[in-house]
Subunit: 328 residues, 2 copies
């Protein structure tokens, strides 16, 4: 019977990572030192890099397949919001202690499901041991027609503001993990541990939006970033922010607040701005792609500031607008 411990990096790669590279010729079965990407003619390669660390981005003891899914999903989310179609990624994983077959198999299965869902293949990486916590650092690659990467700095006054999907479900998922005594509605969504960025929206974005970014650190914070990068102001109507049935239920019984939902982060949905004359085409194309999009506000001149308006028409104020690693 095979030991549950594995004694070489090459054995880990061959048993668990190499199957994830099947079908990508330039990955060379993960048997060489580098991968080769043959870019499609007329396309740019879009690149993003995000790490997830135990105790920072996921709870200690989180399930291996969930960690794997999330590590890939947060990167895919960035690509999608830039209008790029994901196709490959490399992974650097730092394992605390000797890796166990069962854990590695579950992790690889999570990666497998995520890459099938998102349409990409593992093409290389690095497997290390660390005296610290588990960390998974992924660099992901997408493709866009040359010069067509969607930027966050190109929103214009008068553009309409949209989000994909629903907002706040990950925040509720996080709250539920921290306090399982909370109402059962919290448990309805598993968006904190299993975000699903809307890959089908990528081609829609590159044809129809003026600017976009993904929502990772909270809708309010990321909206401010988009406005700041574009040198504009803007307004979000809190009552227009799309909520899941679960979130709405929790909000109604006042176990959470709209402030919590729109600043909680980890939504991994898309925030986009669309010129009014393209709004109908954008909405139609999103519908055809099977992705719900909702108009939640409008871009204004910079002098307007960046504001969130409640149902009574008053400005909402926030103690914190979202997540920052380095906040005091």
């Amino acid at each position: 019977m095979a030991s549950d411990k594995i004694d070489s990096e090459e054995a880990v790669v061959a048993a668990f990572w190499a199957p994830l590279a099947a079908g990508f010729p330039g990955a060379f079965g993960l048997k060489d030192d580098c991968a080769a990407i043959a870019p499609e003619p007329g396309c740019d390669l879009v690149v993003t890099a995000d790490a997830v660390i135990e105790g920072v981005h996921f709870f200690p003891g989180a399930m291996a397949h969930e960690i794997a899914w999330k590590a890939l999903a947060v990167n895919v989310s960035d690509l999608v919001a830039k209008g790029a179609t994901p196709f490959a990624y490399v992974m650097m994983i730092a394992l605390p202690g000797a890796p166990e077959r069962r854990w590695l198999a579950a992790f690889a299965e999570g990666l497998h499901r995520a890459q099938e869902k998102f349409g990409c293949r593992l093409i290389g990486g690095d497997t290390d041991r660390t005296p610290g916590p588990l960390s998974v650092s992924i660099t992901a690659f997408g493709s866009v027609p040359a010069g067509c990467m969607v930027r966050r700095s190109t929103a214009r006054a008068g553009d309409l503001v949209y989000v994909s999907g629903t907002i706040g479900d990950a925040a509720l998922g996080l709250d539920h993990r921290r306090d399982v005594g909370l109402s059962a509605y919290y448990g309805r969504t598993d968006r904190f541990s299993k975000p699903v960025p809307p890959v089908a929206l990528a081609p829609v974005l590159r044809h129809h939006v003026s600017a976009a970014m993904d929502i990772s650190d909270g809708l309010v914070k990321d909206f401010r970033r988009l406005c700041g990068a574009s040198g504009v102001g803007g307004r979000i109507e809190a009552k227009s922010v799309p909520l899941s049935e679960g979130a709405l239920a929790v909000l109604i019984v006042e176990e959470t607040s709209i402030e919590r939902l729109i600043t909680g982060g980890e939504d991994y949905e898309v925030l986009a701005t669309v010129a009014p004359q393209h709004a109908a085409d954008f909405e139609g194309a999103a519908r055809t792609a099977g992705v719900s999009v909702t108009q939640i506000g409008v871009i204004k001149e910079a002098a307007h500031g960046v504001r969130v308006i409640d149902a009574a028409g008053k400005d909402l104020a926030f103690a914190t607008t979202g997540w920052d690693h380095f906040a005091p």
Copy 2:
């Protein structure tokens, strides 16, 4: 006066990382979520990923600029050995505790020097805090004419075996750090903390060699890997392995052994195989590129095995052939 602590990830990126992206349009000044690479027509993109972790790949308390240099150099080393010309990289850095300006400035200066030396630019990444040790995970990009990435699996019986530079200096540097009482010869080389992969050799390799890889885990171990991947055997003559003056001096006074030098690892030189009829051209082109290369052995049929022969013509045996993270 500015505080020595920094309180936002964006401030770290703007102050320390963004200057390293200057001159690469698709990095967008590190102000967007992704970078865009416009591939040269007719070229493949070569991708590699390697992390360095405090306490694993460098000593706790190592100097910031040395850590930065090494983190980039180990990636450049992989690209160069594949015949790829480095041009860009992304970096995911996990910082223990709040980052200090002085440390970040020294780290950025080390990256700056390394990227000037190696000809590449920072184009993106992720800056996190970690409850664990400092880790720096880099994914680096190089360019080769389409289909021309040099492989490790394409050596043929009869090929000559070459290495670039000198072997064993990093092992001596490591020994010296562990025991400063060792002779002053050890201190002559700083190849453990500051490896310098031979970037100028990349175009020479893609024109003249049959197979190549970089030497990171020890010459003997990596030679075995190359032979294994190529399905061949091979022989290295230990007396032919090029040594620096410092290494030779330590060897003569018997403070180290040839076994230590050729299994120590972290050389970040190139191991290459060359068909005999191309050897003169390869040596000439390497000379023109200003990189020393030395023939140290020959590729044999698989039945010959992989052997290292001492000055007396006897087989050398090794307790360990090189470094493995997961060795028991």
